[in-house]
């Protein structure tokens, strides 16, 4: 029983990580039709910026509020990078999705190489607060605090996104734009501004994922972004492009499946996740979100 609790909670922690990566991807693709291969860079930048802040920024440290400051620096870096990418690279190719994808592919190759150039190809130890390395007893199971932190952070981001989408004007524009972008412009709305915002949100969420991944795994490396990104893509496609709740549901499914199966047979979990992707797509090519008949939030 304790094993089950442990697996469920650590699995959900993984789900949280995937959701943070996937949420931005899902919105960006749903709204702007951009398959952003460079999303993994936002992840890495978040981690590396936090690492840099802890080591260089006065007031930032690996503990307590100092760490919160460092993490904020990381998240801000992710959001900023995302804005720059959207404004400089993506916007000029508006309405040309294939060229946009190709540009993000080039960017991901060049970006990872740049990270390697600056910080080296090997993993760096990630500074993290001591309490994240401890465990909490839940129903007899010793659950790593890092995992619990991931669950809380992901849940908070999910709620914040749903609130934004449901109650704000820009959220309205995003929801409508995911359904029919052309019609939104026909109502006199400059939908490109929403693109930049969605990119920035995605970048911030991914950066947060990068920071928390660093906290979870204790290390950060240039290739980390790419491997997490692939799972992010899987979650987005299973959940339905443009749907936040879909991504959340898919992230839960993927995280739990992976964690449970890997426990019984290491490595098999990844294969099961991929099989899950294939099955969902064969039955419902638009992803889980199309089950409820809606596609946005």
């Amino acid at each position: 029983m304790t094993t089950v609790i442990l697996l469920v909670l650590t699995g959900l922690g993984l789900s949280g990580l995937y959701f943070l990566v996937a949420s931005g991807l899902s919105l960006v693709f749903g709204l702007a039709d951009v398959l952003n291969f460079a999303h993994g860079l936002f992840l890495s930048i978040g981690a590396y910026a936090t690492w840099w802040a802890v080591n260089n920024l006065p007031g930032a440290s690996a503990e307590g509020w100092g760490f919160v400051l460092a993490a904020l620096v990381g998240v801000a870096a992710g959001a900023a990078l995302a804005c720059v990418v959207e404004l400089v690279l993506i916007r000029a190719l508006y309405r040309r999705p294939i060229q946009q994808v190709l540009v993000t592919v080039g960017l991901s190759l060049a970006g990872v190489a740049l990270l390697q150039a600056v910080w080296g190809a090997d993993s760096l130890p990630f500074p993290r607060p001591a309490w994240t390395q401890r465990v909490t007893r839940v129903g007899g199971a010793a659950v790593p605090n890092a995992g619990l932190l991931l669950i809380v952070a992901a849940a908070a981001v999910l709620v914040a996104l749903l609130v934004l989408l449901r109650f704000s004007r820009v959220g309205l524009v995003i929801r409508a734009g995911v359904e029919d972008r052309a019609m939104v412009t026909a109502l006199g709305i400059d939908v490109r501004r929403a693109f930049t915002l969605v990119f920035a949100i995605g970048g911030a969420a991914a950066a947060l994922a990068g920071v928390l991944a660093g906290v979870s795994f204790g290390a950060v490396s240039p290739g980390q972004g790419t491997s997490l990104l692939i799972f992010g893509f899987i979650v987005v496609v299973i959940g339905g492009l443009g749907s936040i709740t879909g991504s959340a549901a898919a992230a839960v499914a993927v995280g739990l499946v992976q964690q449970f199966v890997n426990y019984f047979s290491p490595g098999l979990g990844d294969i099961c996740v991929v099989a899950l992707l294939a099955i969902v797509l064969l039955i419902r090519p638009r992803g889980l979100a199309s089950l409820s008949g809606r596609v946005a939030a």
């Binding site: 693709f29 749903g30 039709d33 398959l35 291969f37 690279l89 000029a92 190719l93 309405r95 040309r96 999705p97 294939i98 060229q99 994808v101 190709l102 540009v103 592919v105 080039g106 960017l107 991901s108 190759l109 060049a110 970006g111 990872v112 190489a113 740049l114 390697q116 150039a117 600056v118 995911v178 359904e179 029919d180 972008r181 052309a182 790419t226 491997s227 692939i230 893509f233 899987i234 987005v236 496609v237 492009l241 443009g242 290491p266 490595g267 990844d270 294969i271 996740v273 991929v274 992707l277 294939a278 797509l281 064969l282 090519p285 638009r286 596609v295």
Partner: protein
């Protein structure tokens, strides 16, 4: 004029075949004379990637399938051959053929599933499948794959004619043969009814369905052919570099293939071959450049990124997507436009590149990429 045009590729092939007999030195481009082992090795790698890219373009440029998991089949050929040579007593050519067959079988199974989706979903499924392969290779089940370090090809198990620096020339000819085969296969398909159906599937598969043909079967066939060429490339590659290592299964490799094909010009006759060869060449040379004294002398801000070939290649690619959406053939198209303006009659390259056709406003989140 046309007969000369048709003879040109054959002439180029013969020239390449005769290359190892020439001691011509091209300083700056190659480190040694053309018949030196180092240069031959580099050329051979360029040929392998040229052929690999051509095979990839059969799917991408000619059938409109955007696969992010092509490296899986390349790795199947490479690792398959290495493992079989290592673990069984089979001669090299048997191991190679079996590995290629295994790669083809894998393509049949995975392709059958993946092709039931299209557009983004297809891209993601292929990416996911390849990721499983990459993870499997890294996890080293049963110590088969050698994990991080890969599997070296034991020279003792290989035919004597292929071992040793002095025999690099033989490896070169094998690579040349592969590139020629890949080109022949793809060009033959282009000219055949099968190829015309593929082009129709790429442009609008409803047209194909309406005349009673099943687009799925044609895509699957293109997929399998492409994957088999990739597995063959893998087998040749492992021979060239002396072993298999995890990077042949990485998503970076597939992304690089995409870059190669787009730079060369998707759907064009020789574009992918040129793009693949050029990319491999630049990758090699830029690594050398990066560790050279010239770059090391630059301030750290410049020297460190420049020492990473993928940084330069990735950035160049971004610029190319902006200014040359048709790839190298875009340059050819420029030239023929100028030529036409000057009154001479030139045939411009087939404007069938996927990138150049600015697609229509995608209806919501449906097949935004790959239009398959």
């Amino acid at each position: 004029m046309t007969r000369l045009r048709r003879a040109l590729p054959l002439a180029v092939l013969l020239a390449f075949a005769a290359l190892p007999y020439s001691a011509v030195n091209i300083p700056g481009v190659f480190d040694g004379p053309l018949n030196s082992p180092g240069t031959l090795q580099l050329l051979a790698i360029c040929l392998v990637f040229g052929g690999l890219a051509t095979g990839y373009d059969l799917m991408f440029g000619r059938t409109g399938l955007l696969s992010f998991g092509h490296a899986l089949y390349f790795a199947a050929g490479a690792y398959g051959t290495a493992i079989l040579v290592d673990r069984t007593g089979w001669p090299l050519w048997v191991a190679g053929v079996v590995a290629i067959a295994a790669g083809a079988l894998l393509a049949v199974l995975l392709g059958a599933v993946a092709l039931r989706t299209n557009g983004i979903a297809f891209a993601m499924v292929t990416l996911a499948f390849a990721q499983v392969g990459a993870v499997a290779v890294a996890r080293n089940p049963g110590h088969l794959t050698g994990g991080e370090e890969g599997i070296p090809l034991d020279g003792a198990r290989l035919p004597a004619g292929l071992v040793g620096v002095v025999n690099t020339v033989n490896l070169y000819w094998i690579a040349l043969a592969f590139a020629a085969v890949a080109a022949i296969v793809v060009h033959r398909i282009d000219a055949s009814p099968f190829g015309r159906v593929l082009a129709a599937v790429r442009d609008d598969d409803r047209r194909v369905a309406v005349i009673g043909l099943n687009p799925y079967r044609f895509r699957l066939l293109a997929f399998i052919t492409s994957a088999t060429l990739a597995a063959t490339a893998g087998a040749v590659y492992v021979l060239l570099v002396g072993g298999a290592s995890p990077h042949v299964a990485s998503s970076d490799l597939t992304l690089s293939l995409l870059v190669m094909v787009v730079l060369g010009g998707p759907g064009t006759r020789w574009g992918p071959m040129l793009g693949g060869a050029l990319f491999a060449f630049l990758d090699n040379r830029l690594t050398a450049l990066g560790s050279s004294d010239a770059v090391a002398g630059l301030p750290g801000v410049l020297s460190r990124p420049l020492s990473q070939p993928l940084f330069i290649l990735g950035s160049v690619f971004i610029l190319a997507v902006y200014f040359f959406p048709n790839g190298l053939s875009g340059v050819k198209a420029w030239m023929s436009t100028i030529g036409r303006a000057l009154g001479s009659r030139r045939r411009s390259s087939p404007a069938s590149s996927v990138v150049a056709t600015v697609p229509a406003e995608p209806p919501h989140a449906e097949a935004g990429v790959g239009r398959s």
